[in-house]
Symmetry: D2
Subunit: 360 residues, 4 copies
């Protein structure tokens, strides 16, 4: 299937949004893709160039309404829709079409979790599109999620906050080095993570020069997804205090995640700690443990599918501190989707993706 001669046609539903736009930016340079239908809801009928002026090569494309008809006849369909909207449209697409859902609808295995945090009926569970997710089996054997993506035709792409926190902590959890029972994560988030919603607190006049939290105190919808991932990595019981904060940047997530050393592992040294993360990510093309002493910045990941990670042991506090930086629209959304797509279709995992950020 994966030939450079014959390009695969990809349709994007929600092409006027930030996630859809980023998918198109990457797809436009992907050696195996050809961009097909672009659809939108309220923006149907507009030229893409009015809504996504940075996508020069697609400026004259006109958005169609999001219907099964418009999305028919493609090899890949990417859904960048509001929560709750992807189930119905996906059901109308053939089983052999690869459908990637950038929204939350199909991420959670637990219908109860879905209903508790989203307040609607659960749309079902699709294979989870985080290739680096560590899977610790009951017998202790370890694989990654990428094994489950080969040949998949429905993929639920993880959220940006979840990706950052999961990548930060899973090596320590899988190795039994840190306890998943009292995790604290505080994130600095760029504004594009909130989408194009017209809300007063998302105005530039409000955001410039300011930092503010949101969804504090256990209410954020990403919490059950993080817990699910850490359980896959090997945790029995997960407790996480999760606080995102908006800071004045357009893109980027900086996740500061701490967990206690696990009972029985309190004597671990800094070298012991580092070795666990080194081993976990030694062969990952997009997750990069920095040299000791160098800390990640979000700028270094801008536009790239890279997650930068650094870990330290705070012996006095009995905690491991891990910081992850990534671009919420790339490794946190659209780049991750393309990475999962590559795996599903048997293409090289890195096809069409870059690791170099646009900095400074």
């Amino acid at each position: 299937m994966a030939s450079t001669q014959q390009r695969l046609r990809v349709a994007v539903a929600g092409a006027s949004g930030y996630a859809g736009g980023e998918l198109l930016r990457i797809a436009a340079r992907h050696p195996h893709l050809e961009i097909g239908a672009l659809t939108a809801h309220s923006n149907a009928g507009s030229r893409l160039g009015e809504l996504q002026p940075h996508l020069r090569g697609l400026a004259d494309r006109v958005l169609e309404p999001t219907t099964a008809e418009a999305l028919a006849g493609h090899d890949v369909v990417v859904l960048g829709l509001p929560h709750g909207a992807s189930g119905e449209i996906a059901a109308q697409l053939p089983d052999d079409v690869l459908v990637l859902d950038l929204g939350a609808d199909h991420r959670l295995a637990s219908a109860a979790d879905w209903e508790a945090f989203y307040g609607s009926a659960h749309a079902g569970t699709w294979p989870y599109g985080l290739p680096e997710l560590i899977r610790t089996a009951a017998d202790g054997s370890v694989t990654t999620q990428r094994d489950r993506l080969a040949g998949a035709r429905r993929i639920a792409v993880p959220g940006c906050n979840v990706t950052a926190v999961t990548l930060a902590l899973q090596p320590g959890v899988a190795a039994g080095l840190v306890s998943p029972r009292d995790v604290v994560a505080v994130l600095a988030n760029g504004y594009s993570g909130a989408g194009k919603a017209l809300k007063p607190h998302l105005l530039a006049a409000e955001g410039l020069g300011s930092a503010a939290p949101y969804a504090v105190g256990g209410t954020h919808r990403h919490i059950p997804e993080i817990a699910q991932n850490l359980r896959v990595a090997g945790a029995d019981d997960v407790s996480i205090s999760f606080t995102p904060t908006l800071v004045p940047m357009s893109r980027g997530i900086l996740a500061t995640v701490t967990a206690r050393l696990a009972p029985g592992r309190e004597a671990a040294s800094a070298a012991d700690v580092r070795a666990v993360w080194e081993q976990a990510y030694a062969d990952e093309p997009f997750v990069d443990l920095l040299p000791a002493g160098q800390w990640p910045s979000t700028a270094a990941t801008l536009g790239a599918n890279t997650a930068l990670v650094q870990v330290a042991l705070d012996a006095a506090a009995g905690r491991v501190v891990v910081v992850t930086a990534l671009d919420n629209l790339v490794k946190g959304t659209a780049g991750q989707a393309v990475q999962a797509m590559n795996l599903a279709l048997g293409l090289p995992e890195t096809a069409g993706l870059v690791t170099e950020g646009v900095a400074p």
Copy 2:
């Protein structure tokens, strides 16, 4: 002493720095102050207008070298000097002159802590200039630090990070509601907190659009000062994981601080939690617990001596989450110094200070 007829003369050493400049901005509008000598080190001889172009009324003042002679003959001397420099100059000033040290030299009671984190000889301990600091006595009686500032003639003004974290957590600690043994604090910090040092990572090209941590893993010099404060508030044993992060704003600190509910208090309700913070800050002129559900932003505190606080109970995580926003140069430095000065001199505590931030 505190008459509006006769103004008190204040000298500022380090008038070319951010802390000194902010002290001058406030002093210029203080009804009881008159600005005397302005001194600097490498900038001696320059017009203030070249270095602090926002201080219009003082633009033609010329900076003198920082010497005891230059600082003589004032009622108040404010030292905005690099760490390690204030002890020597303070020793040369008369005992009846009020000296406020904006640096760290005289904050720590423990010489061992000083030496461990700063690597030099301890300069001694001065009364601590955080008026709202809760003091829990051995008999359980509670006062605040402001009682100890009346009449003081040497005051160590706390740092900005320390102020933010202490104000966030001390009500819960003093009330025995939260445990001080596993505190996690992650801060979003504006660049002015780093001073005017010419370092590559402080360049605008690097900072714009980026977030990055520093001093991760228990190494930050503010940690022992936070622990000291929480012990004053009533903690027996303190453990804190503390991570500051630089985000693209010039001023402001947003501190996200979490602590576990104390043993025996795990059943506390959200209302129980809120009541503790409400009671602690009900009468404070500069610490403002927001209405339930409203979260602080740093923009709302810009230029004001206000600390905005909100608290939530994350029952699932067993943690209280507190967020504090303040202006690092005002409530975090120069405004706090003026507040402490007012108390020391018997002036109204709020004289010369505003609570309205410059927003948006």
Copy 3:
């Protein structure tokens, strides 16, 4: 009337907007004002603290609907309303109440200009609230607009862009040194100038890291107001190319304004040029010509009623280049209104206003 004993009551219509909020921030510290009714349109019924969280002392005030009844019984009424809305409400207020219109409705003397640029019926012309505006009479005698504000009871407060460009250029025009016939002005504007309108291009995700122009090519509504001011200063015929650009800051205007040396004055030296601006602003409390070689920054004016000005002669281009920096919400709106109010009421012109910016 102007006694410190008896405070004047001020009502603010449009208290939920940026201009109204800034008026309140200043009024809260004004020694002669007491804040009365606060009104709004769609936000009526809300606590001010939800909408203007930086105005701590007014947080519990509840907004009333904007009606003549709500605004009755005050000494001063400030209207921060959308264009076209102030005429009707002002007509219902007694003649002896001082009404300050922050909007455009009553600024233009020419009904034709109003109709051409605003497309609605002209509401009439009020005394113009730019105290520093140079008035050159037919006989060549020179005064400023402040003379016309004493005792006024209706004042049209100028816009922020207009203030910046007028202050930049009027000394040269009044002195006949520069020609008003081919002025070019390009402005860098902060986002608060656009108000709280919920438009996609005003989102933080769009604005952070970007610069973009708007209202290019002679279409901006502020153009006839600038021309009117320059004619008052002495110009016969005015032509101006005016381009505002949004840049990533919340507040501030940096206006770069150039004009050709007037016919017959082409041999003017840099000293000649400087002397004209020096003389014009020597006694102005809020307009500050910087020392030669020092250029204005908007940061130095944040929160202050200061306009910083610098001028240079580009002999090769035959043009004078003037740069003005000011805070669009202070000297560009609310501070200017208070300054004009002070003059109208016989208070000290500088009462309640500061010249020190909040920087860095």
Copy 4:
């Protein structure tokens, strides 16, 4: 020469700077390039990953000192050196090696201009690396500079400000529609244009939230280069008022450029004006005239080799207003260098370059 089988080896001198780093970011994805020696001055001996943490694939490369030996044996050498440093090193490189100078040394044809603006001896003139530069011959025939780049082995890459202003104005000048005699250009500039120099006004604390001009009044070194380009395009006599301003973004230039309609062309309509720009750039792969009414933003060009252009006629002012947005490090420096390199080497002009910006 241009085969995908055999990659060309490129060396970068000044690999620790912003221009050198951007060259490497592009070269790393260029299908015909292989990255050879990386050299630096004070940073020689460092790992690239410490200095350019966004260039993940090159993180372990070690910088060598900048010597002719280190640069020997490459097909292409890119010099990202301080002004005045490239002449000597270039003289030591073989004539058949393609040398691209990102600095100013070899851009000006006039030694007198060089000496007047740079104050040192002129290093000589190389073919000018702006492929889209319109060349109007004495007989009125029109070509572009790209014709002169084929086979070139020494190329002087233009500066970012110059590229923005030249692309804005040259169509009108070449067509005789606008006069080059009284051009006004005001630019909003991101901080990366100033390089990594450690100067106080380049600190993030100073730049965040502020706008300020520099090199005002005809002193900027880019002025003679702009004039040279406009003369090549067909101007007889050029006069330009040029003012750059620093605004709070890391990358990007927004140039607002105005010129009077030429004598005899005062009756030109908006359609006439637009037609001139449309015709000039119809076939350009990297210069994009936006649809009428849509204005450029710098965000849309981030990381791309795109220049976005829009033009309007201000009939009342008798001026054409043109706005150009580009990324100063890409179309303004490193992308332009690669574009010129492609032409020199007979590769496809667009090889290794993208037109899609990273937005929002």
